[in-house]
C-alpha cells in the first residue's frame, strides 16, 4: 500500500518525514526528568584533615546539598512524632550541642527514658559506626529509625508519618530533589536525617585554635592539659583522645567505675556478654559546658562531680576497665587545684561557634 503513494508523495519525502519525526521525538523533553542532586562537600576542619582518617560516609547514602537540607528540615519537623509536638530537636537542641538539659528526656506522652541524650557532632568520625550509649545502633541511618517510633520518645507510626509528609505541600518535591523520586518512605527519611547529622562538625574550640597557633592557653588550662596527658595523674588520654586525636573520644566501650552493682547493663544488654556489662560508649569531651548533666544516666550535674568521680569515687566491679587506676583507693587522687585545672582545660574544648552556628538551627 505504501508503495502505491509515490506519485502523490515521493518515497524519499516519506523517509525525510520519518527521520524528522524520530529526531523530534528524541529531542523532546521527557515527561519525568530525573533530578540529580548536587554533591555536598563536607567542611572538614583543618585539624581533622591533618590528624585523622577520612570520615565515614556510606556508599548508599552520599551527602548531597538537597539531602542535607531535607535532613535539616526533618530534624526540626514535629510531624515525625505521634501527636505532632516533638521533633528530633526537642531533645537534641543546637544551642546545647544537640542535647537537652535534663537528666532524662520525656517523650510525647510524658514518659521519661533511662538514658541521658547524647550530643550530636563529629558523628561521621565514629569509625566503628556503633551509636547510642550502649552501641546498639549500627550506623546513623539505623540510629535515626529508633526514636521516631519509640513509645517513650516520639511515638510515631511510620504509615501515618509517611501519609503526613506525602500530604505536605513541599515534602514530596523536596524528597524528589534529594533522592530522585517523590516516593517517601522510612528509609528515605532516615537517610536524609543521617546526611544532616554528618554535617554537624565541631572543630573550632579554643584548644583547636591553640593547636593552630592562633591563641594561647591560660596557665590553668596548660596545667589541666598536662594532668589530662599524665598517666600518673588524670590519664584521660587513653580513652578520650589527645591533641593528635581531636575527636576527644575513642568511641569505644568502657566500664568507668560508676557502679559496683549494675542497674543498666549497657553494651552487655546488646551483646549478651557478661564481660560487656556496665560498659558504655566514651563520649567526646568537646562542648562539655553545654551538655550537662553527664554520664549515660546523667547522674552528675557538674564537671566538678565528674572529675571527683575519677579522682576518688570509682566503684570496683567485675568489668571495670583496668585503665581506671587505683580503684582500690577510689581513683587517681587529684588535688583540688589539679581538679580545677583539669576542668579549665576541658572547658577549652568548648566550641561556641558550633552552638551558635545558624546553619544548624531551624531555618524553615
Amino acid at each position: 500500500m505504501f508503495l502505491n503513494y509515490p506519485k502523490i508523495f515521493p518515497i524519499r519525502h516519506w523517509l525525510w518525514l520519518f527521520l524528522w519525526l524520530i529526531v523530534g521525538i528524541s529531542c523532546q523533553k521527557p515527561d519525568t526528568e530525573i533530578h540529580q542532586p548536587t554533591p555536598y562537600e563536607l567542611a572538614i576542619p583543618p585539624l581533622f584533615a591533618e590528624k585523622l582518617i577520612a570520615p565515614v560516609i556510606p556508599v548508599d547514602n552520599p551527602l548531597t546539598v538537597e539531602g542535607v537540607a531535607l535532613g535539616e528540615r526533618l530534624f526540626f519537623e514535629k510531624l515525625l512524632s505521634g501527636d505532632r509536638t516533638q521533633s528530633c530537636a526537642s531533645c537534641h537542641q543546637p544551642q546545647r550541642a544537640f542535647v537537652d538539659n535534663t537528666r532524662f528526656s520525656d517523650g510525647i506522652d510524658g514518659t521519661f527514658g533511662t538514658r541521658n541524650a547524647m550530643p550530636l557532632f563529629n558523628l561521621a568520625w565514629n569509625y566503628d559506626a556503633r551509636f547510642a550509649w550502649d552501641g546498639k545502633e549500627l550506623g546513623l541511618e539505623q540510629q535515626a529509625l529508633e526514636p521516631i517510633t519509640n513509645p517513650i520518645e516520639m511515638h510515631g507510626q511510620w504509615p501515618e508519618i509517611i501519609r503526613r509528609l506525602n500530604a505536605h505541600p513541599q515534602y514530596p518535591s523536596l524528597f524528589e530533589q534529594a533522592f530522585g523520586t517523590p516516593q517517601i518512605d522510612s528509609l528515605a527519611i532516615v537517610k536524609a536525617l543521617a546526611q544532616f547529622e554528618r554535617t554537624l562538625i565541631s572543630g573550632q574550640s579554643k584548644f583547636d585554635r591553640y593547636l593552630q597557633g592562633d591563641v594561647l592557653l591560660t596557665e590553668a588550662e596548660q596545667n589541666g592539659l598536662a594532668i589530662f596527658m599524665d598517666e600518673t595523674k588524670g590519664d584521660c588520654f587513653h580513652c578520650h583522645g589527645s591533641p593528635n586525636n581531636p575527636l576527644w573520644t575513642d568511641n569505644q566501650f568502657h566500664n568507668n567505675g560508676l557502679d559496683a552493682v549494675f542497674t543498666d547493663l549497657g553494651l552487655g544488654a546488646v551483646t549478651g556478654q557478661a564481660t560487656d556489662k556496665g560498659k558504655f560508649r566514651t563520649p567526646s569531651l568537646r562542648n562539655l559546658s553545654y551538655t550537662a548533666p553527664y554520664m549515660h544516666d546523667g547522674r552528675f550535674e557538674t564537671l566538678e562531680e565528674v572529675v571527683a568521680h575519677y579522682s576518688s569515687g570509682l566503684q570496683p566491679s567485675s568489668t571495670i576497665d583496668p585503665l581506671m587506676k587505683k580503684v582500690q583507693q577510689g581513683g587517681v587522687q587529684l588535688t583540688d587545684e589539679e581538679q580545677a585545672d583539669l576542668i579549665a582545660f576541658l572547658r577549652s574544648l568548648d566550641d561556641p561557634q558550633f552552638i551558635a552556628n545558624s546553619r544548624f538551627s531551624n531555618n524553615n
Binding site: K51, L52, I53, W125, Y127, A226, M229, D230, E231, T232, D235, F237, H238, C239, G241, S242, P243, N244, N245, L247, D250, T275, P316, T319, I320, D321, P322, L323, M324, K325, K326, V327, Q328
Partner: protein
C-alpha cells in the same frame, strides 16, 4: 629421527620448567598464647593465667604495633614487605596481614620485623590511622606512638583478680628532667629466622604472652602494674623481656 625429536621435546620441557619459578603472595597470621594455651578474643576478661607461678592474671585488651616487615633472600637482599600494622586481639581483621608483593616460593633465611617504631619513624602525630586509634604517646614522654598495650587485672588467688595493670610499652624515656627528656629507642627487632614460603600457605606468627613477664626478668605485678609509661626502668625491662616473645608458631591447643 624419532629419538632426536623426543630429545628436543625433553629439552624444551626441562628448560621451560627451570625458568618458571613459582611465585605467591605472603599472608602472615598472628596468634597469641599464654603458657602454651591459645589466647583468643573470647578469652579476654574470661580466662585466667598463672604467671611466674605466683600471679593470676586475666587480660582485657591486647594491641601492638608491628613495623618494618621484611624478608631476606639467600643472597642477602632485603625485601621490604610493609611499613606498619596495628594488631588488636579483639579485631580478627587485624590478625591476618596479606602482603601485596609477589614473592618466589622457597626458603628465606630471615623473616624480620620490629615491635614499635624505631625512633626515626616514631614522629609525633604523623600517622592518621594511629591517631584515630588513640595510639599516641603524650608529648611530655617524647610523643610518638605506643608499641604495645596489654591491659588486665591480677591477683594472687582466684577470688581476688581485681588489681589493674597497664603493661604499656613505648620508647623508653627518662623524664626526670621534663626540660631535657632522655629518649632510648626500645623498639624490638625480631628475627624469626628461616621461613618457607609456599603457595596457599600462611606463615603463622605467635606471641607468647607469658614471655613478657619471665625472661630474663621475672615481673612482679605488685611492684610494677599501672603508670608504666613514664617508668624508665620498667620500659627497659619490657625491652629485655621482649626478645623472645615472638616465634614462628606451632599448632596450639584450642
Amino acid at each position: 629421527m624419532k629419538h632426536i625429536a623426543l630429545l628436543l621435546l625433553s629439552f624444551f620441557v626441562w628448560t621451560s620448567c627451570s625458568k618458571d619459578k613459582l611465585t605467591t603472595t605472603l599472608t602472615l597470621r598472628l596468634s597469641h598464647s599464654c603458657n602454651d594455651r591459645a589466647v583468643m578474643a573470647s578469652d579476654l576478661e574470661q580466662t585466667q593465667y598463672l604467671i611466674n607461678e605466683e600471679f593470676l592474671v586475666e587480660f582485657t585488651r591486647l594491641r601492638y604495633l608491628l613495623t618494618d616487615l621484611q624478608l631476606e633472600t639467600n643472597d642477602g637482599q632485603a625485601i621490604e614487605l610493609s611499613s606498619y600494622h596495628l594488631i588488636d586481639l579483639s579485631d580478627p581483621s587485624t590478625l591476618v596481614i596479606v602482603l601485596p608483593q609477589t614473592l618466589e616460593t622457597g626458603t628465606y633465611p630471615h623473616l624480620r620485623f620490629r615491635l614499635g617504631f624505631v625512633s626515626a619513624d616514631n614522629s609525633d602525630g604523623t600517622y592518621n590511622d594511629l591517631n584515630a586509634a588513640s595510639w599516641n604517646v603524650p608529648m611530655q614522654l617524647g610523643g610518638g606512638y605506643h608499641f604495645m598495650q596489654l591491659d588486665g587485672k591480677f591477683g594472687t588467688d582466684f577470688e581476688n583478680i581485681n588489681a589493674p595493670f597497664n603493661f604499656h610499652m613505648i620508647r623508653a624515656v627518662d623524664a626526670s628532667d621534663p626540660e631535657n627528656l632522655i629518649l632510648e629507642d626500645t623498639s624490638v627487632a625480631v628475627d624469626l629466622g628461616v621461613v618457607t614460603i609456599e603457595k596457599d600457605r600462611d606463615v603463622p606468627i605467635n606471641m607468647k604472652i607469658e614471655a613478657w613477664f619471665k625472661d630474663p626478668v621475672s615481673w612482679d605485678f605488685r611492684h610494677w602494674n599501672t603508670a608504666l609509661m613514664p617508668n624508665f626502668q620498667a620500659q627497659k625491662v619490657m625491652y629485655q623481656n621482649a626478645q623472645n616473645v615472638f616465634e614462628l608458631s606451632k599448632n596450639l591447643p584450642d
